[in-house]
Subunit: 224 residues, 2 copies
DNA sequence: GTCTATATGCAGATAGAC
DNA sequence: GTCTATCTGCATATAGAC
């Protein structure tokens, strides 16, 4: 998306991005110096500037890389899946999968918006709001059809996003919990949160549902 | 807590703290300069240093001011309230009340840990972990007594804290939602999340419970 | 594409007069 | 308690040789 047309070293560019996102996650954008990024990528600062235009663009690139796949998938999900419980669970599992498989990128995207200059920040906020709108849509559908039962649908939607986003603060790939089970646990929590139930009043559990694989709505590959 | 014994101007010191927390919340700790704080408080940088020792201490002060009352109240709550549903709801409402009535301070406390030098950060993390332990205790109690029903109690506790913390990202005092109704809504969400139910299997709603006022466990005064 | 050297400005913090 | 003036060092970013 940002590459130039001629023969640049693509793997070096990726090393720069990875070094940057790691440092941004650890020390924050404003706590990370150009020199830190350069040395983490094994370059001098001058060489670093051959692979990027400036520090801000580096941050924007990281954010677009996480927010865009979230927004695009969410729009697909709410347009393809009618059943509110299935739709919500799918939204949750896609969100959790992406956050757990890219904890650094999502953490930076979620916490460094304020480091951007006003115009860029507004652009990112717009994308994020578009994404969150899908959550509101699902909740309202569920409430209107009587499948969900919650006092304040908008507050509920916000709470769900906030909850599912927390994964990136603590999940580590090597741990005891597999990605699949993690997604499973979170979607079950979400169904309880909205008090999803069948007409008789029986609560709906994640196990009662058949969902697309959490990877089904990913952009291309499962992001290692 | 940090005041010196002799005749310092206490209101100026408070103006400094308020200016600092506002700027930290808006631009982040590392995005805020000493000069910014000074001019926001109506002082020169030299005068500013008469009221503080350094920038780090200012941040620590803000964090202690939010984390300590959370931790202290939580210990009281889990030791005084046996019923898991009532206990959890009380924990939630106290947390939400504090976060909504001091959105700036709690936001800074939650997002700027990484800006502190290692030793101080470790101290703050210890306090925060002590606080979160109370949430784990309540969840485990509820699961053991069969009142709660959740797949992964620790993940559930983390999710609850994360969810309730989100208030400080968006709540504004002038809005349509009163503090009391906000607390009410969140504790009802929490009870759904853990699938709290009576022996017969009937879900427990916040309205079914009698709780202490959300202000009951505050340190002194309701923080304006 | 990669380097050495450097421009320019702001960061946190202090000296010392009043 | 408050000021003017200033120290020291690091920040982002660039110039220009190889």
């Amino acid at each position: 998306m940002v590459r130039a047309g001629h023969g640049e070293d693509r793997s070096t560019r990726e090393r720069v991005t990875r070094a940057a996102v790691g440092l941004f996650a650890e020390r924050g954008f404003n706590g990370t110096g150009i020199r830190d990024i350069a040395s983490a990528a094994g370059l001098t600062t001058s060489t670093l500037y051959h692979y990027m235009t400036n520090k801000d663009d580096l941050l924007v690139e990281v954010m677009l890389g996480t927010i865009t796949p979230l927004r695009d998938a969410a729009l697909k999900i709410i347009s393809e899946i009618d059943d509110p419980s299935v739709c919500l669970a799918t939204l949750v599992e896609h969100h959790v999968w992406l956050h757990a498989s890219d904890t650094l990128g999502t953490l930076v995207s979620d916490t460094e918006l304020r480091a951007l200059p006003a115009e860029r920040r507004a652009q990112m906020v717009r994308l994020r709001d578009e994404y969150e709108r899908s959550w509101h849509v699902v909740i309202h559908r569920g409430v209107e059809t009587g499948v969900f039962d919650t006092l304040n649908p908008d507050l509920t939607a916000r709470s769900l996003v906030q909850m599912a986003t927390g994964v990136s603060h603590w999940f580590s790939a090597g741990g005891e919990l597999s990605l699949t089970r993690l997604c499973h646990a979170y979607s079950d929590l979400a169904l309880g949160l909205v008090r999803a139930s069948r007409p008789g009043g029986v609560p709906i559990r994640r196990d009662d549902l058949t969902l697309p694989a959490p990877t089904h709505y990913l952009p291309d590959r499962p992001a290692t």
